[in-house]
C-alpha cells in the first residue's frame, strides 16, 4: 500500500512553473492514446488526423485562428478574474449578450451603412457583455451572493433569450421560417485579414491586442498589482486601501466586455447572422485556456491555439473515423485536469510513501531535507 505525500517547497519552483503545461499536455496525449485504443483506433493514425492534418495547410491555419480568437479574448479576461479570486464562469452568457447587443445595428437598422457601423457594433458588443457580467458582480457586492452559481445560471437564461430573439422578434421574415436573423450587410461584416489565403478575420488581431494590453495591465500597472494582492490576500489588500467590491466589479466588467467583444466578432466575422446557437461552448473552454496558459496573457495565446486545435481535431476525427466530436470536449477536460494536477508540483514536492515507513522514527530518519521544516 502506497500513499502520496505532499512536501511544501520553500518557494515556488520556477522550473515546474514553466514545465507544468507541457507535462500536462504530454499526459493528455498518453491518456488520449489509451482512449483511442479503447475505441479500436490506432492511436498514431488518430493523432495524425487529430493534431497534424487539421493544421497542415495555410487555409486550415486560418480556421485555427478563427477558433482561437474567441477563446483567447475570453480567457485573458477570465485570467484577471481568477487572479483576483473572482469566479466568473458565465462567460458563455456574456459572449451571447455581446453578440446580441452588437447585432442591434445590423438587424434593426440594416439601412445604416458606412465605416462607422463596425466600430459601433464592436463597442455595443463590449457594452452588452459588460452589462450582463455586471449582474453577478452587483449581486455579489450588494447581496453577498455566490458569483459562481449566479453567473452560471445566467448562461442558461442568455441561451434561451437568444433562442427567443431569433425565433421571435428578430427572425428574418424572408428566411423561410428558419430561426435566424437577416444576413448582416457588407459594412457590418468583420473583414478578413488575407482574403486570398483563408477566412481568418480581425477577431484574431483583437485577441492578440487584448492579450498584450492585459499583460501590460497585470505586470506593469498598479491596477494589476491590486488584482494580485486582493486575489492572494484580501486582508492585505484592505490594509493597502484597495477596495474589494470595486475589484469584483472591475474583474467582471473587464472579462464581460472581452467576452462580449468575442461574441460580436464571432457573429459578425465567422457566422454573419444570429442563430439559436452561436458558440460551441467557447465560454467554458476559455476557462481551460486560462488555466492552461497559467493565467498569463501570453501563455493564454499559446493555450488558445492548442484548444482551438482540439476543436478542429474533433471535427476531423468525426468525419474521418466516425468518432463523436465530443472527443474534443474529453480532450479539453483531461487537459484541464492534468494542468491542475501538475500545478501542484510548483508548490509541493510529491513523495510516494510506503505505509511501513511512516512510523515516526523511520520518517524522521528518511526525511531528506530537514531544513524544510524550519522554513515552514
Amino acid at each position: 500500500m502506497m500513499r502520496l505525500e505532499l512536501v511544501k517547497r520553500p518557494q515556488r519552483s520556477a522550473l515546474f512553473s514553466a514545465l507544468s503545461p507541457f507535462i500536462a499536455f504530454a499526459l493528455t496525449i498518453i491518456a488520449g492514446a489509451i482512449m483511442f485504443a479503447l475505441l479500436g483506433v490506432n492511436p498514431l493514425t488518430a493523432f495524425n488526423i487529430y493534431f497534424i492534418e487539421p493544421i497542415s495547410q495555410v487555409w486550415q491555419l486560418h480556421e485555427l485562428a478563427i477558433k482561437a480568437a474567441p477563446l483567447i479574448l475570453i480567457a485573458v479576461g477570465l485570467s484577471v478574474c481568477y487572479k483576483a479570486n473572482v469566479w466568473n464562469i458565465g462567460a458563455e452568457g456574456q459572449f451571447i449578450f455581446g453578440a446580441i447587443f452588437g447585432s442591434i445595428i445590423p438587424v434593426l437598422f440594416p439601412q445604416f451603412e458606412g465605416p462607422l457601423v463596425l466600430p459601433l457594433m464592436l463597442l455595443l458588443g463590449m457594452v452588452g457583455g459588460a452589462v450582463y457580467a455586471a449582474i453577478p458582480a452587483f449581486l455579489k457586492t450588494r447581496f453577498n451572493t455566490n458569483e459562481i452559481l449566479t453567473s452560471l445560471m445566467l448562461v442558461y437564461v442568455a441561451q434561451l433569450f437568444l433562442d427567443w430573439l431569433v425565433r421571435g422578434p428578430w427572425r428574418d421574415p424572408q428566411g423561410h421560417g428558419f430561426p435566424q436573423t437577416i444576413q448582416f450587410g457588407d459594412s457590418a461584416v468583420l473583414p478578413e485579414l488575407l482574403p486570398d489565403a483563408g477566412r481568418a478575420n480581425w477577431g484574431f488581431v483583437f485577441a492578440l491586442v487584448a492579450a498584450v494590453l492585459i499583460w501590460i495591465l497585470m505586470s506593469r500597472m498598479l491596477k494589476g498589482f491590486e488584482v494580485r494582492v486582493l486575489g492572494s490576500s484580501p486582508r492585505a489588500g484592505r490594509f493597502a486601501g484597495f477596495g474589494l467590491k470595486r475589484m469584483v466589479f472591475f474583474a467582471f466588467l473587464l472579462s464581460g466586455a472581452l467576452a462580449g467583444l468575442a461574441g460580436i466578432s464571432e457573429v459578425s466575422g465567422a457566422i454573419g447572422q444570429l442563430q439559436p446557437v452561436i458558440s460551441p461552448g467557447y465560454g467554458f473552454t476559455a476557462i481551460i485556456v486560462a488555466f492552461l496558459g497559467r493565467l498569463n496573457p501570453l501563455g493564454i495565446v499559446a493555450a488558445g491555439l492548442v484548444l482551438a486545435l482540439t476543436y478542429l481535431g474533433g471535427e476531423a476525427v468525426q468525419s474521418a473515423l466516425g468518432i463523436s466530436d465530443k472527443v474534443a470536449r474529453v480532450f479539453q477536460g483531461m487537459l484541464l485536469f492534468f494542468v491542475l494536477g501538475c500545478d501542484t508540483l510548483i508548490h509541493y514536492r510529491i513523495r510516494l510513501v510506503g505505509l511501513a515507513l511512516t512510523k515516526p522514527e523511520g520518517a524522521a530518519k528518511l526525511d531528506p531535507e530537514p531544513k524544510l521544516k524550519e522554513a515552514r
Binding site: T145, M153, S324, Q332, L340, R376
Partner: protein, 324 residues
C-alpha cells in the same frame, strides 16, 4: 382530484434527482470540500445507468451502475483535491466539463434508443387506496430512497459521533487534524458518497424521469442542486423543501407550456385567466424560470451576511495539506 394527484406525482419525480444530488453535496460540503462537479457526476450517472440498463435489459442493474459511475468519477476529484491539494473550484469545474464531454462520447450509440423505466411501487391493496395510495405507495423506488436518504443523513450528521466528527472537520480541518482525526480519509469518503448520490440522481433522470439518453439531459440540475445546498443553509430537511419548490417550478413551467388553453374553457373564470396569462409568455421565458428562480433564491438567502457566515462550514473550499 385525479389531476392534483398527478401534478403532485410529477413534482415529486422532478424533485427527486435535485434532492438526492443536493443531499450528497451537502455531506461533501459539511466535510469542508466544495465539489462543483455535481453536474458532471450526474450526467455520468445518467449515461452509465442508461447504458448498462440498455445492454443488460435490467434497469435495476442500470441503477447500480449509475451509482458506481458517479462514485468512481468523483474519485478523480478526490485524488486531485485531497491528495494533490489542487484548487477545488477549478477542479470541480473541470470535472463537470469532462463529464459532459465523456458522457456525450459514451452515449453516442444510445441516442434515440428506447429505454426501460424502473417500475413504480405496486403493493396490492395499498397502492389502490384513493388519493393517498398512489402518493404514498405508488411512486418510483428512487423516490423512497431519496426520502430515506434525507432522514439517514440528518440522523448521521446530527445524532452520531462520526457525523459530529465530519462536521468538525468542515469547520476547522487544522483543529481536527491536531486532534488526530484522519481529515483526508473522512473527506475521501464524503466526496465518494457525494459522487454516488449524484450518480443515483443522474440514474433517476435516465431510468425514471425520461427513460432514454439525451445529450446534456441534466440541463443544469447539478448546478441547481449546488444552489439548493446554499439555500438550505446546509440542513438536510431544508434541502428537501427546496428541492420540492424547485421541482414544482420545473414541472409547473413544463405543464404551462404543454397544456392547451382550449381545454380550460369550462374551468372557473379565474383559472382560465391565470392560465391564459401564463400562456401569453414566450416558452423560452417559462423555460428559464428555474434558472432565474435559483438566482432570486440565492440572493434572498445570502442577503443576510451574518446568517450565511454562521451556517457555512468554515473551511469550505480550502485545500488541506497535513503536516506530519
Amino acid at each position: 382530484m385525479d389531476i392534483t394527484v398527478n401534478i403532485l406525482l410529477t413534482i415529486a419525480t422532478a424533485a427527486t434527482p435535485l434532492l438526492i444530488a443536493a443531499i450528497g453535496e451537502l455531506v461533501v460540503e459539511r466535510s469542508g470540500v466544495l465539489n462543483l462537479g455535481v453536474e458532471g457526476m450526474m450526467i455520468m450517472g445518467a449515461v452509465g445507468g442508461f447504458g448498462v440498463s440498455y445492454l443488460t435489459g435490467s434497469p435495476w442493474i442500470g441503477l447500480l451502475a449509475a451509482i458506481a459511475m458517479g462514485a468512481v468519477f468523483s474519485l478523480l476529484f478526490a485524488v486531485m483535491t485531497l491528495s494533490l491539494a489542487t484548487n477545488q473550484v477549478a477542479t470541480g469545474l473541470s470535472l463537470t466539463l469532462l463529464g459532459l464531454g465523456l458522457s456525450g462520447m459514451m452515449g453516442t450509440s444510445f441516442v434515440g434508443q428506447p429505454g426501460e423505466r424502473l417500475p413504480n411501487l405496486d403493493i396490492p391493496g395499498l397502492t389502490s387506496i384513493p388519493v393517498i395510495g398512489r402518493l404514498l405507495f405508488g411512486q418510483d423506488p428512487i423516490f423512497y430512497i431519496s426520502i430515506a436518504l434525507t432522514a439517514a443523513v440528518t440522523w448521521f450528521l446530527f445524532k452520531t459521533r462520526t457525523g459530529l466528527t465530519l462536521r468538525s472537520i468542515g469547520d476547522s480541518h487544522t483543529s481536527a487534524h491536531a486532534l488526530g482525526i484522519k481529515v483526508i480519509r473522512y473527506r475521501y469518503l464524503s466526496v465518494i458518497f457525494g459522487g454516488a448520490c449524484a450518480g443515483l440522481a443522474g440514474g433517476h433522470l435516465s431510468l425514471v424521469y425520461t427513460p432514454q439518453w439525451v445529450e446534456n439531459m441534466t440541463a443544469g440540475r447539478g448546478w441547481i442542486a449546488l444552489a439548493l445546498v446554499v439555500f438550505a443553509s446546509w440542513r438536510p430537511w431544508r434541502v428537501l423543501a427546496g428541492a420540492y419548490i424547485f421541482g414544482a417550478i420545473w414541472v409547473g413551467q413544463l405543464h404551462v407550456q404543454a397544456i392547451n388553453l382550449q381545454d380550460f374553457v369550462d374551468a372557473p373564470w379565474v383559472i382560465y385567466k391565470v392560465i391564459a396569462f401564463l400562456k401569453s409568455f414566450p416558452s423560452q421565458l417559462l423555460s428559464s424560470l428555474p434558472y432565474l428562480a435559483t438566482v432570486v433564491v440565492l440572493v434572498l438567502i445570502s442577503r443576510n451576511k451574518r446568517l450565511t457566515m454562521m451556517n457555512t462550514p468554515a473551511s469550505l473550499g480550502q485545500p488541506f495539506v497535513p503536516d506530519r
